[in-house]
């Protein structure tokens, strides 16, 4: 019964006209075309053309300030929540649908393409309420469904065993790593197809980092994952595809093994050998 309530996602949900979107996985489920982004008058991203393959982990690397977070946020229309930030030209295709098209509801995009931020941000409410925050908006839940759903997504995020006795206590008492997994559960509960992760481990200890990495490995069977990371070793472990950015441009874009073996640019070589960043 729960199964039917879940899995509502396809591009059709965003735009009724497109019923067969995302049906050409070879072209990538998420693609950008000549994407240019400004903060105020300052251009920060230049002519981004990338393609994200379905059910794979794509890692975005680059020195800090090169525009990784900006790119990531532009992929699910959360960039426009930052005052001054603007996609000045280009498009982002989810399947065959341009998510920046004027009749697309940004909120539906954000539901289908979830995002996890660098710093875990639990809301000031109970653990269960945190998990169900988005779900309770997107669909009507019976009281009896709540605990079941919370359990399902907390389990998927590997947190259930640690919090099952205190679902109704404040989420702020959790450790940093637990909070980050709670945020993951909250995003998963929205039933996204794609999960964007912005340096999800950068504020966590090594043990928590390993937990998150394991989760990414599991989740990639069902979800498309884009992960921004500062950590070259981490993207070696996780990524199928890897991108390298430098000063607002994508300078390397290749299957991970290939990119790490022989980067094509000098800057790429420098970065991978730790001379930049």
């Amino acid at each position: 019964m729960l199964q039917t309530a879940i899995n509502l996602n396809s591009a059709a949900a965003l735009h009724p006209a497109i019923l067969t979107a995302a049906s050409a996985p070879s072209a990538g489920i998420l693609q950008t075309q000549q994407l240019n982004i400004h903060y105020g008058l300052e251009q920060r991203l230049f002519d981004i053309n990338i393609s994200i393959a379905e059910r794979q982990v794509t890692a975005i690397m680059g020195p800090s300030g090169c525009g990784k977070s900006t790119l990531l946020k532009s992929l699910n229309r959360t960039l426009e929540l930052t005052p001054g930030a603007e996609v000045t030209s280009g498009s982002v295709y989810f399947g065959e649908l341009d998510i920046y098209q004027s009749d697309v509801d940004a909120r539906a995009v954000r539901k289908v393409i979830g995002i996890i931020h660098q710093r875990p941000q639990p809301f000031p409410m109970s653990i269960e309420e945190n998990v169900l925050f988005g779900v309770r908006f997107h669909q009507r839940l019976k009281r009896s469904q709540r605990q079941l759903l919370a359990e399902r997504y907390l389990t998927m995020a590997g947190l259930w065993d640690e919090v099952k006795d205190r679902l109704h206590q404040s989420a702020h008492q959790l450790s940093g790593g637990q909070q980050q997994r709670l945020c993951l559960a909250r995003t998963l509960a929205n039933q996204p197809q794609i999960i964007l992760m912005d340096e999800p481990c950068s504020s966590l200890d090594p043990a928590s980092t390993e937990r998150i990495e394991q989760l990414v490995q599991q989740l990639k069977n069902d979800y498309t994952i884009v992960i921004v990371t500062h950590n070259i070793a981490q993207s070696r472990r996780l990524a199928d595809q890897a991108l390298l950015m430098m000063e607002g441009r994508v300078i390397e874009n290749a299957p991970a093994a290939q990119l790490f073996a022989n980067p094509t640019t000098v800057a790429g070589q420098d970065f991978l050998q730790g001379r930049i960043g």
């Binding site: 039917t4 899995n7 509502l8 396809s10 059709a12 949900a13 009724p16 019923l19 509801d105 909120r107 539906a108 539901k111 908006f137 997107h138 669909q139 009507r140």
Partner: protein
């Protein structure tokens, strides 16, 4: 495909709620803008028609008094009581703020003093009037006079100026103070040379606002300083006319609405002057 439509449908109610909220919020914003503009505009428009040089510079005439002539004694009286109040409250409040922010050793003492200061500020104007009447006018025998009214207004302004000056001192960056002190000069010297100049705009802003508020406040002077009419110019031991009580008399005795508009105009002008001074000072402070 059914399920996809369900998603849109479920969202729709919330989206409508969001729209309604957005609309309500903008409406409230418009009210917040229109209300002050229309009240001020209404009073200024009507007042402006009454205003003339003679209205400002002549004494009230006619029968009942105030139907013609001007409001000069009220302006003089208001200036006198507020001026005396400031002369007492400003140095006292400034000194108190200096003690609290620079000399006080114990945080607890500062907190307790601030607590009582804010309690003093919370006492409504009418109670200052009641106290001033019984204590100063009657018991001390100061009579209904500029002295009684000025002291009453001083009590009203003191906590406001104190709190404002205290936060102005606290806003001065600590490193500045510390580095000045580490040069080995006295605290008093540091206060005069580095703190006061830095904090002055904030202190003056608080003082101007407090004085602007005091000028318009009728309740504290109603029984301590004001009478319906005076002929002589203000002196310390004589009663005076003041702008707010004059306005009150004109309206409550239905003497002259025209002159009431004119008096209200002058009061609003004082308010706008005080507020724009404070705004400019705060603006400069931010730079």
């Amino acid at each position: 495909m059914h399920k996809a439509e369900q998603l849109l449908l479920n969202n729709r109610r919330a989206v409508v709620n969001d729209r309604v909220f957005w609309l309500l919020a903008w409406t409230a914003g418009a009210i917040g803008l229109l209300l002050p503009l229309s009240i001020i505009g209404y009073l200024l428009f009507h007042g402006f028609q009454v205003l003339s040089w003679s209205f400002i510079s002549e004494v009230p005439r006619g029968y009942p008094l105030g139907v013609s002539g001007g409001i000069l004694p009220a302006i003089q009286g208001s200036l006198a009581v507020t001026g005396l109040g400031l002369a007492v409250a400003f140095p006292a409040a400034l000194a108190s703020a200096i003690y609290l922010s620079e000399y006080a050793q114990s945080q607890r003492f500062v907190a307790v003093m601030r607590f009582f200061t804010e309690c003093l500020a919370a006492i409504p104007a009418i109670l200052f009037g009641v106290f001033g009447y019984a204590f100063l006018v009657v018991q001390f025998g100061f009579g209904i006079s500029v002295l009684s009214g000025g002291l009453t207004l001083a009590m009203l302004m003191y906590p406001v100026i104190l709190v404002g000056s205290y936060s102005a001192f606290n806003a001065v960056e600590r490193p500045l103070k510390e580095s000045a002190l580490s040069l080995g000069v006295s605290r008093a010297y540091v206060i005069r040379r580095t703190l006061l100049p830095k904090a002055l705009p904030g202190i003056i802003a608080a003082t101007v606002l407090a004085a602007g508020h005091a000028v318009g406040s009728a309740a504290p002077v109603l029984f301590t300083a004001s009478v319906v009419q005076t002929r002589s110019s203000p002196s310390l031991d004589s009663p005076v006319m003041t702008l707010p009580t004059h306005l009150y008399n004109l309206v409550s005795e239905a003497v002259s609405f025209e002159h009431a508009y004119g008096t209200a105009f002058v009061l609003i002008a004082c308010l706008l002057f005080a507020n724009s001074c404070a705004m400019m000072l705060r603006h400069r402070l931010r730079k």
